[in-house]
Every structure is written in structure tokens, then in C-alpha cells.
């Protein structure tokens, strides 16, 4: 067993777990944060994407030993009590999800992109979603939503009708 202490969604959390525990398991099993999903457990699908110290990571690939003292943001930490985060709002507006299983990972990848690059091109968005598999939607409405959210985050008006 190892003891681990880290910050998750702005709160300090600790747990004692076997050393082979992944960050994803820690979040889901110990902290009951089940928003991050397990789609493959080997880094191929992106359903488990969270942001660690500003970087998007596949939490299924990160072991507890690597997260000591770090700052983790998960899908549950994105909205505050009264407001959805712009990305979430725009995903809702465009109906970007279907079954939703890939959604938390996609939204966290998009958040990391927009933090880094506030005005991404369609190509840059496609690239940033390169590690996130979605089998339902065909990605189109996600890209529209991410574009829209980038406008809002830059303080511009979002194109709420479909772009081409």
C-alpha cells in the first residue's frame, strides 16, 4: 500500500492504495468520481482524460506514484454551482454527444487545448481530439462546440448557428 495526497478539483484528497493503482482507479474507486470513464485501460481511447497540472493525460496510464502533490482537474470540477463551463454549454447547444461515454474525456481534452490555444483552427481541434475515440457522433458537432466555446472564452460572441 502507498499513501497518496493530491489536489482534485481544488480539494486536497488522500488515499492508501496498492502501488499499481492508476489515477483513473483512484478517482473512480476511492474518490467516487466516476465521470472519467474506462474505455480501454491502455491509453488508446481517451475516455479517461483528465488534466494534471494543466496537461491532458490518460488517467489510465498514470500510476498513483506519479500524482503525489499534483493538481488534477476532472469533468466533475469543470462547472461551478451556478454555471456550466462554456465548453459544456456549447456541447449541450450543438447536441455534440450521443451516448455520452466519450464526453468527459473529449471535453477535458478540449479544455486543455483551449487553455493552451485560445483560437484553434478546425485542424488544430481535430488534432487535439486525436486521442479521443467517439463511436457515435462523427465528431462534427464536437468541433462546432469547441469552436463556439473558444469564442466565448475569448470574450467574443459564439456562432450559435452551425458553421461550415
Amino acid at each position: 500500500m502507498v499513501n497518496v495526497t493530491l489536489r482534485v478539483n481544488g480539494e486536497t484528497r488522500s488515499a492508501s492504495v496498492p502501488p499499481e493503482t492508476t489515477l483513473l482507479r483512484l478517482l473512480r474507486d476511492q474518490f467516487n468520481l466516476t465521470g472519467s470513464k474506462l474505455g480501454c485501460d491502455v491509453g488508446d481511447c481517451g475516455a479517461c482524460t483528465v488534466i494534471v497540472d494543466g496537461q491532458p493525460v490518460n488517467s489510465c496510464l498514470m500510476l498513483v506514484g506519479q500524482v503525489e502533490g499534483r493538481e488534477v482537474l476532472t469533468i466533475e470540477g469543470l462547472a461551478n454551482a451556478d454555471h456550466l463551463y462554456p465548453l459544456q454549454k456549447l456541447f449541450e447547444h450543438f447536441g455534440s454527444l450521443q451516448c455520452g461515454f466519450c464526453g468527459p474525456g473529449v471535453i477535458m481534452s478540449a479544455k486543455a487545448l483551449l487553455d493552451e490555444n485560445p483560437d484553434p483552427s478546425t485542424e488544430e481541434i481535430r488534432d487535439a481530439l486525436g486521442g479521443n475515440l467517439c463511436r457515435c457522433t462523427g465528431y462534427t458537432k464536437m468541433i462546432e462546440a469547441i469552436k463556439g466555446a473558444s469564442c466565448i472564452l475569448r470574450g467574443e460572441e459564439a456562432p450559435l448557428v452551425k458553421s461550415a
Binding site: T34, G95, L97, F101, L129, L133, K141
Partner: protein, 777 residues
């Protein structure tokens, strides 16, 4: 009814929980004292099991139970198959293999431990003594003379023969100016929902109640099957499909794990959970397609198609799942596509091989049909040196021909194929595309334009044509507070029925969609229903909802008319009020009329109290959506890389409840189909090992593989249901592969090539180009 919400792009009611990570899929559910199941799976495609030794595993720390096929012999019935074909051989799958394994990934033993890791670790302690047998992987070799039968007591590996013939085929081939022959292969693909399967079961010995949460498209059918497989009273089985992370047909099935996990929970008196790993999902969740089609087409010089003959080898895998034998027969029904072909015949040989079963993967038999007939149209065009548009137009039935009877025995409900084609040509600016292509060819750049005009069979369907009931149920209950509950048997997994059915409720009852709650997936709350598949949720499930809404509305109109002293026939529902059409002052608040139904003091004489109605809607026919997809590719002459440049989709799914959701279905379907066309392929090696058994090796389309999809619609309502809706869940998957195949063949036309089998991987295309280059120059 005034439609304030139907037809509008309302935001999805499902989304707030999904975008915040607050919804619960099976693996997100945890119960106190929960244990974990793990399955030991065969590493061999074909082997006799000499013995299974569980003694070490049973002694491992944390393990509470370990069972082999012998241990549960007789306690759990084999996997059910609902599809029946005359004279089909038995291909029943035992829930755990006992004497023999027949595909890699077949379960041999199961164990339960107190935690997930202990369960997985203990699998390594199980000792199985296998006697490997020669695997039979290739379906043509499987039915060749001398091939050993997979199933004991059978003389060969032919599971069934099925044939269908309509029209005078002999005469058609006699009258033909030309006969074209071609073999096409529709490769095996793997559906890969991003949520794998999962089961959680809990048994309460006191009450005798068994609850099973499963990631399923068919909670009620699953309940019936679990009860039958375990010989357990159905009344005490409660099945819940919580949030389901994509199905695509894979979860329209009953799997060994569902029955076994329920059985383990009963045996242990503890909750037991099983979460499928991605590898297990590749190996042991149903696959799709896998047909070899030998075609002969009788044509006239002017492009008229007189007759079509198809011989199909359908690779079924080792066993039947729920609908395995049925799927290729749907290809037969739809083989003439959207063309007036007077005579057609299909002979299907269903074949057992040492692979996972094929079954209903999004489109289920119809993508194969559309692929086949659209390839035919392109081959005819190439043979006669005509354009692909011209040949298609030539053979379309006209709008006045509907309802149109096909030689395969179907009645297409409504259609205007011409109109969708015209619109697609316009959106794509087809003429200009051809000019551009000619220009690029001079520069030795290979652009290809592919066209697919399709019709599909949706709204499944009349019970007479379905293996196990084609109706759907819905209950509408207006609660005493005026909130409306809609209970639907069409349990969704991403389609958005919570939104569309709320739109319908709001319009029928003159209230806001926020007042309508759609409940699904829970067999204790929802009346017996069928499920979501075959693009049926809106056409069949939605119609059941609509009819129940009408019944409740009629009752409310009578109550309101009674209160204000007016004629029930003339009551109007709008803005949370019910009022007389001629004198709107004669009005009752919606809530007041509802409350009257429950307080029951001011009801019309002889009216029952309460406000609830149930409908079991039985459609009279399938529905037949159609459309035209056009796709443009460019092939890199150096590498063979196929790049998707443009994609235009014009679909006609009849009336639309929510265009946002329809767009999403179309886009998602297209991308799935692009996956099959460009890179997806389930590859088993000669030993029957699944080489493409991880996401690393089985390429799914990613965001960067796609171009923008330009979508438009024509609207031809169906007369089959009062909503005029046809269904759209599978359109994209059905239409897109032939569009891509057509585009690739068109790009390769300068090389004298008119057909290449999918997937269009760069090595394959490069080889085709280099092999044919010299011949052409």
C-alpha cells in the same frame, strides 16, 4: 395539434448529466459488499478441453467461487437464438464451454473474488488441459469437401441454406444484352462501442428478488431470457439498463455473462459485477458483416437492369447469438435496393467457422445489400461507359409507383428517389466536380467521385416479419401535480428519446417539454417493451408514445369540457390551458383538469379516475427511408493513401422530430461507415487468433480522419404511422460504404480498375495502382 416543439432543434434533456460526468453507466454503479467476476477465456480457436483444474484458483486469496462449464452443466441454458430458418443446424452456444472451445475468447471458467485485481490474478491459477484441433477460419474452406465439422453430430459446416427468388429470372438472363459477373467481399468488422459491456447483479434471498443491471439495448427481452436461462420466475427478475454507452447492435443480444453473473449473485447472495475489458469486447462481443457475394447481373445496352443473381457465403462464426442467422437474410430482402429490378434471386449459405459470432451491427444486413447493389450500379455504368447517375436514374421507380412492391416481397411505403439525387447533385455541384476531376487527371492526380443512392428498411417492424415481436409499448401518465411521465419500451443508448418523446408530449398536451419526463430501461417501471434497434425507436416507439398521449388528451378534453360546459371534441390544448375552440374564455388550467382526474369529484358520469394510458403499437409495415450520398476522395499516386475530400449526404427519413438529433445520427453513421471503407477489418490469422484485438491494431476513425459532412434533407412522410417518421439511426452506415467504394473505383478508373474490396488501405491501393499502371500506359 400546433407543433411548437416537434421539428425544432431542442437541446437534449440527456445532456446536462452527460456533460458534467454525472450519469451512471453500469461500471459506475457500486453496491455494498460487491464482488467481482472474471472469465477465463480460451487462447485457442479450436480445441478439446480435457480438464479444467480450479483447485489453486479456489484457494487464492479473495476468491469466493470458481466454476467451470462442468460445474454449471444444466443450471444455465445455452445462449438463446431468436432467429429461425427452416432446417438450420444447431449452433447453440453453451454459456461456458465444457468439452470443446470453438473461438478465441470463448469462456471456459468464471471466478468471483472480493476485489477486481484478485479476480483477474486468480485467472492465472486455473489450469486447463487443451487438445488443440485444426481451426477452420476461412468460410470457403469450411464448406469445402472434407472439412471437419465444428459441431458434433453434423456432417459439415453449413449452418443453413436460405433462398429467395422473385420475378422471372430465367427470362431476364435470356433477354439480357450483357451479363456482368463480380465477386465482392464485405469484410468482417468489429462494432466497438466506447463503453464495453458490463453486468451487475444483486440477489435478495428474503424477497427472492434478482436485479440485473446490464449495458443492454433490450432490457425486457433480457429479463425474459435470464428467467428462462436460469429457470427463475420472471416476475422476480428486475432488469435495468442504466446509461448505455453506445450499442450499435452489439447490445441487442443476450450474452453468457449476463446469465452467469446473475447466477453467481444468486449462488453467493452477494452483488457481483463484471466489467468487460476492451480485449474481451473485441474477442467476445458480436462482430458484423462478413459476406462474400458472387453476383451476376443481366442488363440491357441502355442500362436497364433485368435481373440479379447473388450467391452469398455468410460467415456466422462458431455459434449463433440472438439474431445471427437472420442478418444475411435481410441482405436478401433488400438486394434490389432502390431500383426497379424485375427479377432477383439470392442463395445464402450460412457457415460455421472458428470465430466470434456475427450478428446485428448497425444496419444489420442492409449495409451489405446496399453495398452490393450500389457496386452493381457502378459496374454497369463502367461496362456501358455511362455515368453512374444516368444508370441509377434509369432504374429508379417513380414517385407514382409507390407503394412499390419489390421482387423480394417487400412493399416500399413512399419515396422520391429522384428528388434526393437531384438535391445531392446540386449541393455537391456535381458537374463542376467532374470538370475538376478531368483537369486533375491530366495532372496525374486521382480524384474520385462516388455516388450511393440507397433505400433502407427501418421502423422494425411488423411482428409478422420479426423473430420476436415488432411492436412497441408506451405508457403516458399525467401525475397529480401535472407533470407527465412517459414510459417507453424503446430503451435508448444515445439516440435521445428523452428529448424527442418530451417534444411530442409537450405538443400534444400544450405544455412545456420540461414538464415531460421520459422513463426507460427499467423493467419494474416500464411496461413490457421490445427495445431500440433497427431504426425503430421513433417510428414504432414514438408512435406508441403518440397514441398514449392522444388517449390521455382525449380524457383530459372530456374532463375539461365537463368543467366548463363545452364539447370535448372542440377543446384545444395550449399554454398549459385547455379551452373551447370557439370561446377561449371557457378555459381550465391544465393542472386543474389533471387534478380533477385524481380528486375525482367533478368527473363526467361513468368516467374512471386517474390519468394514464398504455399503447402496444403494432406497425402494419416497415418504413423505407432513402437518400443520396456523394463522396469525393483523392488518392495519392505515390503512397496509395485515400483522402476523403468532400462528403455530401441527402437523407429522407420522413418527418423529423428533432433535426439536431437526426443530423447527429447521420453524421455518426457515416463516420462509422467510413471506418469500414477505409481501415476497419477484423483479421483472424490461420490459427484463428484475432490479430486486430486491441484499439492499437483495429483502427477506428478519429476526428482527424474526417472531412466536413455537408448534409441536407428531403421530406417524404411515411403513411405507415401517424407521425410520418421513418427512422434514421442506420442511414449513414448503410449509405456511406458504397459511396466511398464508388469514389475509390472512380479514382482508379484510369488504371482500368472498377472494383476494389474494402478496406481501402494504402498498401492495397498502392499495389492496385502499380500493378495496373503499366497495362494502361
Amino acid at each position: 395539434m400546433t407543433t411548437r416543439f416537434i421539428g425544432k432543434p431542442l437541446k437534449r434533456k440527456e445532456d446536462p448529466r452527460l456533460i458534467q460526468g454525472l450519469s451512471h453507466y453500469v461500471d459506475d454503479l457500486n453496491l455494498a459488499g460487491m464482488h467481482y467476476a472474471a472469465f477465463l477465456r480460451s487462447p485457442y480457436a479450436h480445441a478439446n478441453i480435457r480438464s479444467v483444474d480450479l483447485s489453486k484458483a479456489r484457494r487464492a486469496s479473495g476468491v469466493v467461487l470458481a466454476l467451470s462449464g462442468t460445474d454449471i452443466d444444466g443450471a444455465i441454458q445455452p445462449v438463446p437464438c431468436a432467429a429461425q430458418i427452416p432446417d438450420m443446424k444447431s449452433g447453440a452456444r453453451p454459456v461456458l464451454a465444457r468439452d470443446r472451445v470453438r473461438f478465441v475468447g470463448e469462456s471456459v471458467a468464471v471466478l468471483v473474488a472480493s476485489d477486481r485485481y484478485a479476480a483477474r490474478d486468480a485467472l492465472d491459477l486455473i489450469e486447463v488441459d487443451y487438445e488443440p484441433l485444426t481451426p477452420i477460419v476461412n468460410p470457403e474452406k469450411a464448406i469445402a469437401k472434407g472439412a471437419a465439422p465444428l459441431h458434433a453430430g453434423q456432417k459439415d459446416n453449413v449452418a443453413f441454406k436460405w433462398e429467395l427468388e422473385g420475378g422471372d429470372l430465367k427470362a431476364a438472363f435470356k433477354a439480357a444484352d450483357k451479363v456482368i459477373k463480380q465477386r465482392i467481399v464485405n469484410q468482417r468488422v468489429i462494432p466497438v462501442p466506447i463503453e464495453t459491456r458490463g453486468v451487475l447483479a444483486d440477489y435478495q434471498p428474503g424477497e427472492g428478488q434478482l436485479t440485473v443491471w446490464s449495458s443492454t439495448q433490450i432490457p425486457h427481452l433480457l429479463r425474459t431470457q435470464i428467467a428462462s436461462m436460469l429457470n427463475f420466475p420472471e416476475t422476480l427478475v428486475h432488469v435495468v439498463a442504466p446509461e448505455v454507452g453506445g450499442g450499435f447492435g452489439t447490445k441487442l443480444n443476450v450474452y453468457p455473462e449476463e446469465a452467469i453473473v446473475a447466477y453467481l449473485a444468486i449462488q453467493l447472495g452477494k452483488p457481483v459485477k463484471w466489467s468487460e475489458s476492451r480485449r474481451e469486447n473485441f474477442q467476445a462481443t458480436i462482430h458484423g458483416r462478413d459476406q462474400i457475394d458472387d453476383l451476376e447481373v443481366a442488363i440491357k445496352r441502355d442500362g436497364t437492369i433485368l435481373g440479379l443473381r447473388c450467391r452469398v457465403i455468410a460467415d456466422l462464426g462458431a455459434y449463433y447469438q440472438l439474431l445471427t442467422p437472420l442478418i444475411p437474410t435481410l441482405t436478401g430482402l433488400m438486394m434490389t435496393g432502390c431500383y426497379k429490378i424485375p427479377a432477383a434471386r439470392m442463395e445464402i449459405t450460412g457457415v460455421f467457422t472458428n470465430k466470434m459470432a456475427t450478428d446485428a451491427y448497425r444496419g444489420a444486413g442492409r449495409p451489405e445489400a446496399t453495398y452490393l447493389i450500389e457496386r452493381v450500379m457502378d459496374l454497369v455504368a463502367a461496362e456501358l461507359k455511362k455515368g453512374p447517375v444516368e444508370v441509377r436514374r434509369k432504374n429508379f421507380p417513380q414517385p407514382k409507383d409507390f407503394p412499390y412492391a419489390t421482387p423480394t416481397g417487400l412493399i416500399y411505403d413512399s419515396g422520391d428517389y429522384q428528388k434526393a439525387l437531384d438535391m445531392a447533385l446540386k449541393v455537391a455541384d456535381y458537374k463542376k466536380l467532374r470538370q475538376e476531376q478531368a483537369k486533375l487527371r491530366k495532372e496525374e492526380r486521382y480524384m474520385g467521385i462516388g455516388i450511393s443512392t440507397y433505400v433502407e428498411i427501418c421502423g422494425m417492424g411488423p411482428s409478422s416479419a420479426m423473430p420476436a415481436g415488432g411492436w412497441e409499448s408506451a405508457t403516458v401518465r399525467v401525475e397529480p401535480t401535472g407533470r407527465v411521465s412517459v414510459m417507453t419500451g424503446s430503451s435508448p443508448h444515445g439516440q435521445g428519446q428523452e428529448t424527442t418523446f418530451a417534444q411530442m408530449g409537450a405538443d400534444v398536451l400544450g405544455i412545456d417539454p420540461s414538464q415531460v419526463q421520459v422513463v426507460h430501461g427499467d423493467t419494474s417501471v416500464v411496461p413490457y417493451g421490445i427495445g431500440t434497434f433497427g431504426s425503430r425507436a421513433t417510428a414504432v416507439g414514438g408512435t406508441a408514445v403518440y397514441k398514449s398521449l392522444q388517449k390521455v388528451k382525449e380524457k383530459l378534453a372530456r374532463i375539461a369540457a365537463h368543467i366548463v360546459g363545452s364539447d370535448p371534441e372542440r377543446m384545444v390544448f395550449a399554454n398549459r390551458k385547455i379551452f373551447a375552440k370557439q370561446s377561449p374564455k371557457k378555459s381550465v388550467a391544465f393542472g386543474q383538469a389533471v387534478s380533477a382526474a385524481y380528486v375525482a369529484k367533478t368527473l363526467p358520469a361513468e368516467m374512471e379516475p386517474g390519468l394514464e394510458a398504455t399503447t402496444f403499437f403494432e406497425p402494419t409495415n416497415f418504413t423505407y427511408p432513402f437518400g443520396t450520398h456523394i463522396c469525393v476522395v483523392e488518392i495519392d499516386a505515390e503512397t496509395g493513401d485515400v483522402k476523403l475530400v468532400r462528403y455530401v449526404a441527402v437523407d429522407d427519413c420522413g418527418n423529423v422530430i428533432n433535426p439536431l438529433l437526426v443530423e447527429g445520427q447521420v453524421q455518426g453513421g457515416i463516420v462509422q461507415s467510413v471506418g469500414q471503407a477505409l481501415f476497419e477489418e477484423a483479421v483472424y490469422d490461420e490459427q484463428g487468433q484475432l490479430i486486430t484485438g486491441e484499439l492499437m491494431d483495429y483502427a477506428l476513425p478519429r476526428a482527424s480522419d474526417m472531412c466536413w459532412i455537408e448534409a441536407a434533407r428531403t421530406v417524404t412522410p411515411t403513411p405507415v404511422n401517424p407521425l410520418g417518421v421513418k427512422g434514421v439511426g442506420e442511414a449513414g452506415t448503410i449509405a456511406a460504404t458504397p459511396a466511398l467504394a464508388g469514389a475509390v473505383a472512380d479514382a482508379l478508373a484510369p488504371f482500368g480498375v472498377h472494383h476494389v474490396d474494402m478496406p481501402f488501405k494504402r498498401e492495397k491501393i498502392w499495389q492496385v495502382m502499380s500493378k495496373n499502371r503499366r497495362r494502361v500506359q
